[in-house]
Each structure stands twice: as structure tokens, then as C-alpha cells.
């Protein structure tokens, strides 16, 4: 069983998505990278998805397009979650920033940027956050070796 609002949202949003489905209490939408900001805006204004929970990426190494950027939203009014997914290629891993809609996007996009190298167009502050200045590469990409070390200060002999 899922809340009726999910059916309504599915009906309204499905035409502009390449894929849409409902898993329990969660609406899952796949959209083109260019439509992320628009979809988020509609979710926020039409369906009260006011809490931006999370953005992360999945690296499907060997597939094209390589990266899947995954967003989670929550509606404090309807108590439901929405997952928005979009694929971006390795050569141009760019999506629009959600900063105009959600203040929370600033920090979360910074993390996603340093970990996966996804560029959020419109987020001017993509400095390293959990990593340090000058860190090379994007550690959560599948082709970043886990054992690689980049000490900022050389080890004590």
C-alpha cells in the first residue's frame, strides 16, 4: 500500500520522465540530465517536496553513460520520498545545481563533486570538503585504487 498522492505524482510527472515507478512510499523517476532542475522545481512547488535529503552518484564503470546521479527528496506535508536519477557521461559529467531551490544543496553537491567529479553547474563553491586541497582524482570512482595514498605530510621515517 502506498499513499494516494504517489499515484497522482506518477501520473503528472511520468510524461516528462524516461522512467517512473513507485516502490513502497517512494516515487522513483529517471530523467535526462538537462531536466533535473525542472523536475526538482516541480517537485518542490507542485508536490511540497521541501526537504532535499541527499545527492550522491553511482559509478557504473564500463557502461555508457557512466555516472548515475541520484537525488532523494522528502515531502514534509505528504510524508513521502522521491528519488530522481539521471545519467551523465564521463566526458561531460555535468548537471544543474539545485542551489536555487535548496540551501542544503551547497554542501551535498560539494561532497558529490569531490568524490565522483560530477560538476554542478551553478554551484560556485565546489571546494574540497571532506578531502583536502590538492587531492588528485575522485576517490569513490571505481577506477580509483583503494590502496592509493596521497599523504599531505610525508610519513615519519
Amino acid at each position: 500500500m502506498h499513499p494516494a498522492i504517489l499515484d497522482l505524482m506518477l501520473e503528472k510527472l511520468a510524461p516528462s520522465c524516461s522512467e517512473a515507478s513507485i516502490s513502497p512510499r517512494m516515487l522513483v523517476l529517471s530523467v535526462p540530465a538537462t531536466a533535473v532542475l525542472d523536475t526538482a522545481r516541480r517537485l518542490k512547488t507542485d508536490f511540497a517536496c521541501d526537504l532535499f535529503l541527499d545527492v550522491t552518484a553511482v559509478d557504473w564503470l564500463g557502461h555508457t553513460p557512466r555516472f548515475e546521479v541520484v537525488y532523494h527528496f522528502y515531502s514534509t506535508e505528504h510524508k513521502i520520498r522521491v528519488r530522481v536519477k539521471t545519467r551523465v557521461p564521463e566526458s561531460e559529467p555535468v548537471v544543474d545545481s539545485l542551489l536555487p531551490l535548496y540551501g542544503a544543496a551547497a554542501f551535498m553537491e560539494r561532497e558529490c563533486h569531490e568524490m565522483y567529479g560530477i560538476v554542478f553547474r551553478g554551484n560556485a563553491d565546489l571546494r574540497p570538503l571532506l578531502l583536502y586541497e590538492g587531492f588528485e582524482g575522485h576517490p569513490l570512482r571505481k577506477d580509483y585504487p583503494k590502496t592509493r595514498e596521497q599523504p599531505l605530510v610525508s610519513y615519519r621515517k
Binding site: 512510499r25 517512494m26 521541501d50 526537504l51 532535499f52 535529503l53 541527499d54 550522491t56 553511482v58 559509478d59 541520484v70 532523494h72 522528502y74 514534509t76 510524508k79 520520498r81 528519488r83 535548496y102 540551501g103 542544503a104 551547497a106 554542501f107 551535498m108 561532497e111 568524490m115 563553491d125 571546494r127 574540497p128 570538503l129 571532506l130 578531502l131 583536502y132 586541497e133 590538492g134 576517490p139 569513490l140 580509483y144 583503494k146 599531505l152 605530510v153
Partner: protein, 409 residues
């Protein structure tokens, strides 16, 4: 000349600003300090006299590549690691993670496990809030209140050690169940501890609630409106202190919360005092829930009888080949989780703790992402600090309850 002066270490951060908005503002770097002293965090602060005019928050000093490491271990082997996210309430992390994997495997846990997980989540919430309130009070110089609360917290920790074998890092959750059942007399001791809780928390209220010094430091400091809190993705006591009664235990009930009677305490104006009070009231509600759960707790097995995830009984492993192989496969390959993705969120003491797991059908996750409340809260903390005094950073930051383990991952 001393040579060490010449070799300057590289700066790991790039501050958002080098100077303040005006010429007479001073830019100061605060922290990072030791993790045990409330927050391994660095604040770059522009000061106009004593007033904080601009803040740039830098976290990451406890980053240990958690998500990368997760992709390299079996689903089961991650549990000790999951504990170390929010190390003040490791059990909540365990249960949220286990439920994520159980969702992917379509496993329904046993009733006793469901109630026990609920009970232990609430018990952990008490320990977490006690730590948070105690530490913030100590930073304000309230030593008696600190000692009362930490004494209670240590009753809880030692009591949990009787059950799990560890004070903080319990490794007690299992996919499809729990590590072991309650030892003899555990519930009697629980009852005694809750009695102690009532006594000493009553004294805390007496010491602080109407204390002039305390109110001056906490009231109208670090104020946040509901709209701002939601914009910055705040959840948990941070959001509820602004007056919004949003709690996943009520709104999207999981575990056994739908069967419990409890209230969602909210604040009035979202300042430090409200955050203190919301946490105190939440502990009362947790105690109320635990007392109900003790009465509701059913008998029965604590783990599901499912060979895909539950380890066979040790006696059988030593005596029959099927169980031996089952044990071997589960340890060496890990539980084979069907391909798919799941996002499961629990109401952790700090807010919404979500796990987003992607499986490709193997014994370890293809991806595991943690939506940790502390990390999200750090994204909006500058709003709580700007415009107040330098000395207000201490109580405000304490009331945010940033936990480095889950923030930096």
C-alpha cells in the same frame, strides 16, 4: 635560524574568504580540536570586534574513506564499521543499515527482534542525548549537571556492554536479526536505570531550566526559523526545536513505533534553549516508550530462519557438512543480496539517518551511501553562528551535536 620555521606545512583547506567584509574585521581560524572535545571541525571566522560576521565551516578531519571501504567488504563485515558512524548511538546505525539490507533481500524480521530493536534504539537515543546535553553544559561550566548526566550515560553504556560486550561499538545488529538475546536480569537492571534517570534528570531541570546564567547564554542565541531549517535540510531535534513536529517515527513508522504511545516534543523559536529542551523532553518520551516496550516484548527467536543471511548454530557447524558450508559461504562470500537499490531512513538521535545501498547481486555492496544528519547540519551551521558573539559559538555548536564519525565518514 631554526630550519623548521622555513619548511611550512601545506594548508589542507582553502578558506572561502581571506579577509572580512570590512577592513577592521579580523579573520580567525578556530579548531580543529580533538574529537573528544566536541567536534573535529575547523571554523574560519570573520570577527567584527566580538561579533561573528561570517563563518566558513570545514569538516573532513575524521574522513576515513568509509564509503570506499564499504565496497570492498561483505555486507555482514560492514557492521562493525557502521557502528563507528555515530559512535554515541551505534545501535541506531546498526539497525538502520540492517533494515536497508533486509529491504533488498525482502526479509521480514521476527517480532521479538522488531521490539528489541525499537527498545534499543530508544535506549541509544537516551545515551546520545545525555552525551550531547552533558557536553554542552560542561562547556558552559555546569560541572554538576555534567557529572549527573554522564553518570546516567555510563549506567546505560555499561548496561549495553552487558548485552553486547562493548561500551560504544557494539556490532550487535545482524542482517535478519540480532547477535544474541538479552542476558538474565537485563530488564530488571533496565528498570532500575530508568528510575535513576527520573531522579537525576529531575535535578537537571531544577538546576538549569530557570537558571539566569543558563538562560542568558542559551535563549535567543543561534535562532533558526522552520523555513530556513527545512531549506538547509535539517532534521531531528534541530528541526523540531523550530516548532515543526516532524519525526520519522510518527510520520513514516518503522520497527514497532506504530504501536507505541508517544509525543513529538517541539520548541518555540529554534534557539539553543529550545534545542536543549527538545532533547530533554525526547529522552522522557524514550523512557516512556521503553517502559511500554518492556511490557510488549514477545518471546521467540531473535533472528530469522533464513540460510541466505543468518549464520547457522555453532554446534551444527562443527557436526554437519551443510551448516559448515553455509557458514563458510556466508563468511567468505557474504550474503548474496539481490540486485537493486534501497533507501532506508531511521530517526537517529541527530535526525534522519539514511542508507542508500546499491547491490548488483554480490556479497558486498556495489555502493553504500550514508545520508548522515551531522553532515547536512554542518551545511547550515554558519547560519546559526553568524550575527552572534564569539563566545556563543561554544553553546551553539554544542547544541548542533555534530558527531565527527558520521559527518566525515
Amino acid at each position: 635560524m631554526d630550519q623548521r620555521v622555513e619548511t611550512r606545512l601545506p594548508n589542507p583547506i582553502r578558506p572561502a574568504f581571506e579577509r572580512g567584509r570590512r577592513d577592521d574585521e579580523v579573520v580567525v581560524s578556530i579548531g580543529p580540536s580533538h574529537p573528544a572535545t566536541h567536534g573535529t571541525i575547523q571554523l574560519i571566522v570573520a570577527l567584527d570586534g566580538e561579533k561573528v560576521s561570517r563563518v566558513d565551516v570545514h569538516c573532513g578531519y575524521l574522513h576515513r574513506g568509509f564509503e570506499k571501504e564499504c565496497e570492498d567488504h561483505t555486507w555482514h563485515n560492514l557492521i562493525p564499521y557502521i557502528d563507528r558512524l555515530n559512535y554515541c548511538s551505534g545501535l541506531v546505525n546498526d539497525f538502520a543499515y540492517c533494515e536497508t539490507v533486509e529491504t533488498l533481500m525482502a526479509i521480514e524480521i521476527t517480532p521479538r527482534c522488531r521490539y528489541l530493536r525499537t527498545l534499543l534504539s530508544e535506549y541509544s537515543r537516551i545515551a546520545d542525548h545525555l552525551t550531547c546535553v552533558a557536553a554542552s553544559l560542561m562547556e558552559l561550566g555546569a560541572m554538576t549537571a555534567f557529572l549527573y548526566l554522564v553518570m546516567l550515560r555510563d549506567y546505560v553504556y555499561e548496561h549495553l556492554a552487558d548485552l553486547t560486550g562493548a561500551r560504544l561499538t557494539y556490532t550487535y545488529g545482524r542482517i535478519g536479526g540480532l547477535a544474541r538475546d538479552l542476558p538474565e536480569g537485563w530488564l530488571d537492571r533496565l528498570d532500575w536505570i530508568l528510575g535513576q534517570y527520573d531522579t537525576f534528570v529531575g535535578r537537571i531541570h531544577g538546576l538549569l531550566d530557570r537558571n539566569r546564567i543558563f538562560i542568558d547564554r542559551m535563549r535567543d542565541v543561534g535562532v533558526l526559523t522552520t523555513a530556513e531549517a527545512i531549506d538547509y535540510g535539517f532534521t531531528g531535534p534541530m528541526l523540531r526545536s523550530t516548532g515543526a513536529a516532524l519525526d520519522l517515527r510518527k510520520d513514516t513508522p518503522y520497527l514497532a513505533y506504530a504501536e507505541l504511545d508517544f509525543e513529538v516534543p517541539v520548541g518555540i523559536k529554534g534557539d539553543n534553549y529550545d534545542r536543549y529542551y527538545v532533547r530533554m523532553r525526547e529522552m522522557d518520551e524514550s523512557v516512556h516508550m521503553i517502559r511500554q516496550l518492556v511490557d510488549l516484548l514477545p518471546e521467540g527467536p531473535i533472528s530469522v530462519d533464513d540460510r541466505r543471511c543468518t549464520l547457522p548454530d555453532k554446534r551444527l557447524v562443527y557436526t554437519e557438512i551443510e551448516s559448515l558450508i553455509n557458514h563458510f559461504k556466508l563468511i567468505m562470500e557474504g550474503p548474496l543480496v539481490p540486485a537493486g537499490e534501497a533507501y532506508v531512513a531511521h530517526e537517529a538521535p541527530n535526525g534522519e539517518l539514511g542508507f542508500y545501498a546499491v547491490s548488483t547481486g554480490g556479497g558486498s555492496p556495489y555502493k553504500l551511501h550514508v545520508r548522515s544528519p551531522s553532515f547536512v547540519h554542518m551545511g547550515g551551521t554558519h547560519r546559526l553562528l553568524e550575527g552572534y558573539q564569539l563566545a556563543d559559538i561554544v553553546p551553539t555548536f554544542g547544541s548542533v551535536n555534530m558527531i565527527g564519525g558520521e559527518c566525515d565518514r
